[in-house]
């Protein structure tokens, strides 16, 4: 009990004094996850829009597959990315294993299906609404996609935030492909796992506080966004 209390007090101090190690790890976490988010969004959102406007034979199957991939266990993603990037793997020559790039790759694979599925739901609804009008004024496929993406931007932001939340809190995959190397690939979640194992609860708790704060901020933002969406403003 005293351990916990002392840990909390120290953790609090680490946070308010902006401890160097804590800051470094937090910033690295943000950098990795935000990069993954940008890459994943650039793939998932146009894909979702394309799936909404384009009719083709296996569309339903592709959508179902995306939904299924949302449930992919991150550890398995980590394992597969590890095998791909390891010395003997097909991308071994790139020397990416145990780098932030490897972690970003794993996170992208984990959140693309999530972002694409959430985005697809809103874009499909919007397409139903716009369909007749856009067909009538003869817009090209590119213009359709651009219009949907722009007019559904709030819903897309929600999808992006959900992806961010998933990626920032993920530990299994990035532990495997990043290796949790000090000063190189150690991020919030892997550091918490390590410090807890070592018994350094102060740093672990401080890291935890930062992580929780980020997660709460994301959820507040999602909540706020979906409320303004319902009011139809912005």
């Amino acid at each position: 009990m005293t351990d916990l209390w002392q840990g909390l007090v120290q953790a609090f101090w680490l946070v308010v004094t902006f401890d160097a190690e804590l800051a470094e790890i937090s910033l690295r976490s943000l950098r990795v996850t935000l990069t993954a988010l940008v890459v994943a969004s650039a793939i998932a959102m146009p894909l979702a829009a394309f799936l909404s406007v384009q009719r083709f034979r296996f569309r339903r199957h592709v959508v179902a597959l995306l939904n299924a991939l949302m449930g992919l266990p991150p550890v398995v993603v980590g394992l597969v990315v590890y095998l791909m990037l390891s010395r003997s793997g097909p991308f071994g020559v790139l020397g990416l294993l145990f780098t932030p790039t490897a972690m970003i790759t794993a996170q992208v694979i984990i959140i693309v299906p999530l972002i694409a599925s959430i985005a697809h739901q809103s874009l499909r609804d919007l397409w139903q609404e716009y369909h007749d009008l856009l067909i009538s004024i003869n817009v090209t496929r590119r213009q359709k996609i651009a219009t949907l993406l722009w007019d559904a931007r709030r819903a897309l932001l929600t999808a992006g935030l959900a992806g961010f939340g998933r990626a920032i809190g993920e530990v299994g995959a990035i532990m495997i492909v990043g290796g949790n190397i000090d000063n190189a690939t150690r991020v919030l979640t892997t550091a918490i796992a390590l410090e807890t194992g070592k018994g350094d609860f102060a740093l672990a708790l401080a890291l935890g506080i930062v992580l929780v704060a980020l997660a709460v901020a994301v959820n507040v933002a999602i909540h706020w966004l979906s409320r303004t969406e319902r009011e139809g403003r912005w």
Binding site: D132, L133, S136, I137, N138, Q143, T147, G232
Partner: protein, 238 residues
């Protein structure tokens, strides 16, 4: 020289959906100038006919032939839907949109959009979110958004169904002006007063088929079929 859209020839055109005939087979020739008004009871196929002519309903049998090729014809048409579709954007952006799609530079498009917004009396709410406008305001905006590209042919599917007397008169004024400046109108309506005011030619639809068609004057003064007589009297026609 601009290629003419008319005469329009419709031969046995039919549109079906999951095996059910929505309208057709329809035979019709539209030539001469003026406004064509499509009338008929609910479910007669007015919407289906307009969509077929515009090319947004698939023609499963028969054909619709314009004086020029279909693609050119389509480029010069616009459509106002029975239930207005609002882009989730401001009033001005709704008006700018079709111009931008056609490649007009932003400043020029904006200028024209402001002019049109003012014309339809929405000049003081340019930045308002279009989906929160009243039904009448949405309908006027939809009409302006269709006319802003200066189509040579405008389809309007019951453009005044949700409008009060004043708004209806405003809309009719806009339509009369458009017609005067060379836009052909094909519109459907339930309002016989409006049909009489606007029509040069009438197409009376019943159960998906053309029951009677001709010059408005003849149709209203001397309807040829008993169904048309009954419909004009306000009786229930089925």
């Amino acid at each position: 020289m601009v290629s003419a859209l008319f005469p329009l020839t419709v031969k046995g055109a039919t549109t079906t959906r999951r095996g059910k005939v929505l309208a057709g087979p329809i035979d019709l020739t539209l030539d001469g100038g003026g406004t064509c008004v499509v009338i008929g009871p609910n479910g007669a196929g007015k919407t289906s006919l307009l969509r077929m002519l515009h090319g947004t309903a698939r023609i499963t049998r028969g054909q619709v032939t314009w004086a020029c090729d279909t693609e050119t014809a389509r480029h010069h048409q616009a459509f106002v839907f029975q239930h207005p579709v609002m882009l989730r954007r401001s009033v001005i952006e709704n008006l700018v949109y079709p111009l931008r799609v056609r490649g007009m530079p932003r400043t020029a498009a904006r200028q024209r959009a402001v002019d049109w917004a003012t014309r339809i009396g929405l000049g003081h709410m340019l930045e308002r979110h279009a989906p929160v406008l009243s039904g009448g305001e949405q309908q006027k905006l939809a009409i302006a958004r269709a006319l802003i590209v200066e189509p040579r042919l405008l389809f309007l599917d019951e453009p005044c169904a949700s409008l009060d007397g004043r708004a209806m008169r405003e809309v009719e004024e806009i339509l009369v002006q458009a017609a005067a400046s060379g836009t052909r109108l094909i519109l459907s309506t339930h309002d016989m007063g409006q049909a009489r005011r606007l029509a040069d030619q009438v197409v009376f639809l019943l159960r998906g088929k053309v029951q009677e068609t001709g010059l408005a004057k003849n149709f209203f003064d001397q309807p040829q079929t008993s169904q048309a007589v009954a419909f004009l009297n306000g009786d229930i026609v089925e």
